[in-house]
């Protein structure tokens, strides 16, 4: 089952953002989406989550056609984070828990635990404006993890993080995903990261995005793979 | 600033839509009578006598046509304001009741709720006068504010009667509310309703110029008014906003009450003056010299 994307066409008004995108993500798989800035990666991710209505083609999640948000199945990290400016880091992480009806005490515990995992235990009470850029991004990651959805759509979740933190978080994420068998679609602009984390990599053309190639990781030597990806993107 | 323009006389009138208050000045204006007497007059309409008096005290208005009660009340408060010309002595006030009301005559008001504008107003005075002259005790005055609020309250039945100039009854009838008006003019002969007033200092300084011209213009206007029904009615329609039928009725009822001689009924002013403590408008009754300047009505 997982996600099946067939002949997806996306547009904003007249402006085409993606054309004829077809790929699938199997349950438990980690798939990265890479492509030049502005090509349409975020748009594809939005369509996957039912937040952007396709102009053509369709997206199916677990065999069911996506027509709107599927909060019980899909969790998001948005590229621009979309944190609530008036809520503290902890209360931001609590949002999906509250929406699921988790009782107040448990909510708080779970939020603190997740904030601890992303290294923010000490700033749990600060509001986003009082956090550094990277800290905000980690709050958004913690919030996505707080949802118990089986699918995670992550839009450049590590962009504002230093290498150490992103390596740590990446490892943590992989461990967590493996434990819980989550399915992940991951937008990144780091080839290294894509190679390190993914089962498969979907390479998109410059906008409007089309599929350039879908590469399965593991069958090739990482160095060659990296070189190949570089070639695909920089050509 | 129009007030600074030299030579212009700002003449205040109260309730400029009232027939008795406004018509002489409007006639004089429309017929060019002010101009004929060498006056450049601008008529300013005030919604309340107290506002007019304040404007006179502040100097933006030089003279005004107010009620006798306004003059004596101001004088009693130590304001330099004197009556110098009477435009109408009989009061146009009437008790207005619904046609089906059991109140048929003034004594029937005993124990009834009567709408007045405010405590201490001319309408309040009128209620006290009715009680005093007819023995109708226990009348409950209900302050309702603006005339429109009074007519609304009467129409809704919140009060049994209201006190307003008689033409309001005609207007109500014309608008389809069947009402009866009981005039109170013959309750007493001691009455001075329409009165020109100005600060004593201004009267003294101007006695041979503007004041005389003003009184002469008023006399001529009132004479003209009483002799020309169609023109006066027409003016009441265009300037005071009356419906033609209402204007005709008001003319026929009220035009005779104007006093072209300008004679002031001092007993009327005295009656107002004596009522002041009862109306809680002053502690002491003012003397005639305080509120009356006889120099101009002598002729």
């Amino acid at each position: 089952m997982g996600i099946e994307v067939t002949g997806l066409d996306l547009r904003y008004g007249d402006h085409p953002a993606a054309r004829d995108i077809t790929f699938d993500v199997r349950p438990g798989e980690f798939v990265s989406l890479i492509g030049p800035s502005g090509c349409g990666k975020s748009s594809v991710l939005r369509a996957l989550g039912g937040l952007l209505r396709p102009a053509g083609g369709e997206v199916r999640v677990d065999g069911e056609r996506v027509r709107g948000p599927l909060p019980t199945r899909i969790a998001y990290v948005f590229q621009d984070l979309a944190l609530f400016p008036w809520r503290s880091a902890r209360r931001n992480v609590e949002v999906p828990l509250a929406l699921r009806g988790v009782p107040r005490r448990l909510r708080r515990e779970r939020a603190d635990e997740l904030l601890g995992k992303v290294g923010l235990a000490e700033v749990a009470d600060k509001v986003p404006a009082q956090l550094s850029g990277g800290m905000r991004q980690r709050v958004a990651i913690a919030r996505a993890l707080a949802s118990d959805a089986g699918i995670l759509l992550l839009d450049e979740p590590f962009a504002a993080l230093d290498e150490q933190t992103r390596t740590q978080l990446g490892a943590e994420l992989l461990r967590l995903l493996a434990e819980e068998g989550k399915t992940v679609v991951f937008v990144t602009h780091s080839l290294l990261e894509a190679v390190r984390l993914s089962h498969r990599i979907v390479v998109l053309t410059p906008g409007p995005a089309r599929i350039r190639e879908v590469i399965t990781v593991g069958t090739e030597d990482p160095h060659e793979l990296h070189a190949k990806l570089t070639g695909l993107l920089f050509s | 600033d129009p007030g600074a323009e030299p030579g212009t006389l700002h003449l205040g009138i109260v309730q400029g839509q009232d027939f008795t208050h406004a018509l002489p000045a409007r006639i004089a204006e429309a017929q060019g009578i002010f101009a004929k007497h060498g006056l450049k007059v601008e008529i300013v309409d005030f919604s309340a006598g107290s506002d007019l008096v304040k404007a006179i005290v502040g100097g933006t208005v030089q003279a005004g046509e107010v009620t006798g009660l306004d003059v004596v009340a101001a004088a009693a408060s130590g304001i330099d304001l004197k009556a110098f010309y009477g435009t109408a002595s009989a009061t146009p006030m009437a008790v207005i009741v619904k046609d089906r009301s059991p109140i048929r005559a003034l004594p029937d008001l005993k124990g009834k709720k009567v709408g007045i504008s405010k405590f201490g107003s001319l309408t309040d005075f009128t209620v006290k006068l009715i009680a005093q002259k007819t023995g109708a005790t226990d009348i409950k005055p209900v302050p309702l504010g603006a005339p429109s609020a009074n007519t609304a309250a009467l129409a809704k039945g919140d009060v049994d009667a209201i006190i307003l100039p008689v033409e309001f009854a005609y207007a109500l009838q014309a608008a389809g509310t069947p009402v009866t008006a009981i005039r109170i003019a013959d309750l007493t002969t001691d009455s001075q309703f329409g009165t020109l007033a100005a600060p004593g200092a201004w009267l003294d300084a101007n006695q041979n110029e503007q004041v005389t011209a003003l009184t002469e213009a008023y006399a001529e206007a009132i004479t003209y008014l009483q002799a020309h029904e169609p023109e006066s009615v027409q003016l009441a329609v265009s300037k005071l906003g009356m419906k033609p039928a209402v204007a005709t009725q008001a003319y026929q009822e009220l035009s005779k009450d104007f006093t072209p001689t300008g004679k002031i009924n001092t007993a009327g002013l005295a009656a107002y003056a004596e009522s002041l403590p009862g109306l809680k408008l002053a502690q002491k009754v003012p003397t005639e010299q305080q509120y009356y300047d006889p120099k101009f009505t002598a002729k």
């Binding site: 952007l52 | 309409d45 933006t60 389809g176 509310t177």
Partner: protein, 255 residues
């Protein structure tokens, strides 16, 4: 659009029906059919036209003062930061103050007629504009302000470049209230003391229970305010086109 006109039509019909069945007396509220016939004939009379012209002029002048003064003071106060709470309380008091007892002071200082009436209208209108603008200005994104200052904008440029555009909707919203209130202020002034103008007319029409004419005059007065509103709205549309989400499809889903 169609929805709006349909609603208006519905309201007019309801008004007509109510007048013919429930109220049954046209002393103040006349059925629209009569407002249209009797009322509009009255409106066409030269005296009425003159009064309307006078009042409209006063209202426009009062609103101009309201807008300029209100927005300027509101922006200035809103950006002082520490003054905001105090200024807000002060303005609210001024706002809730019954101004009628002070009108004689207006007459004394501004003279009879135009200037005192305009001043009275402006003071009614300006306070809500100051309040609204001030509140909006104090909520502007601080990052943008810092960035603009860092690019070399002084106080004024920061105001015109960041604060004003960012607050357009709130400013326009409060200008609408300000327009309604400055019209009210002018009318109140004319009702209390008047040489001419619509206030005078309205007093006479109310006193004489001339419903159709009264309603027609009130409606005519509102036309001025409506015109101002339409202009404000057009201005706002132009200035805040960026807010209109250019992703209709995304939005239909998101709703």
């Amino acid at each position: 659009m169609r929805l709006r006109w349909a609603t208006i039509a519905l309201l007019v019909v309801a008004w007509e029906v109510a007048c013919r069945t429930l109220v049954r007396s046209d002393d103040y509220l006349a059925p629209p059919s009569e407002v249209l016939t009797t009322g509009s004939a009255y409106l066409a009379q030269p005296d009425t036209v003159a009064a309307l012209t006078v009042t409209t002029t006063r209202f426009l002048a009062a609103f101009a003062v309201t807008a300029l003064l209100g927005v300027a003071v509101g922006l200035a106060l809103g950006r002082t930061g520490c003054l905001v709470p105090a200024a807000r309380d002060m303005m609210t008091v001024l706002y809730t103050l019954p101004l009628v007892p002070f009108y004689p002071l207006f007459v004394l200082w501004f003279g009879l007629g135009f200037r005192s009436e305009v001043a009275f209208g402006a003071i009614h209108g300006a306070v809500p504009v100051v309040l609204g603008t001030m509140a909006a200005a104090s909520r502007v994104d601080e990052t943008l302000i810092t960035a603009t200052r860092a690019m070399g904008a002084g106080r004024t440029r920061t105001l015109t470049m960041v604060v004003l555009p960012a607050t357009v909707p709130d400013v326009v919203g409060s200008l609408r209230i300000g327009a309604a209130l400055s019209l009210l202020g002018v009318l109140l002034a004319e009702l209390m003391v008047s040489v001419d103008g619509v206030g005078h007319l309205i007093a006479a029409l109310i006193a004489n229970l001339r419903g159709p004419e009264l309603d027609a005059v009130i409606l005519a007065v509102c036309v001025g305010a409506v015109a101002v509103n339409v202009l404000l709205q057009a201005g706002e549309r132009r200035l805040s086109r960026w807010r209109e989400q250019p992703t209709p499809s995304a939005h239909r889903v998101a709703r």
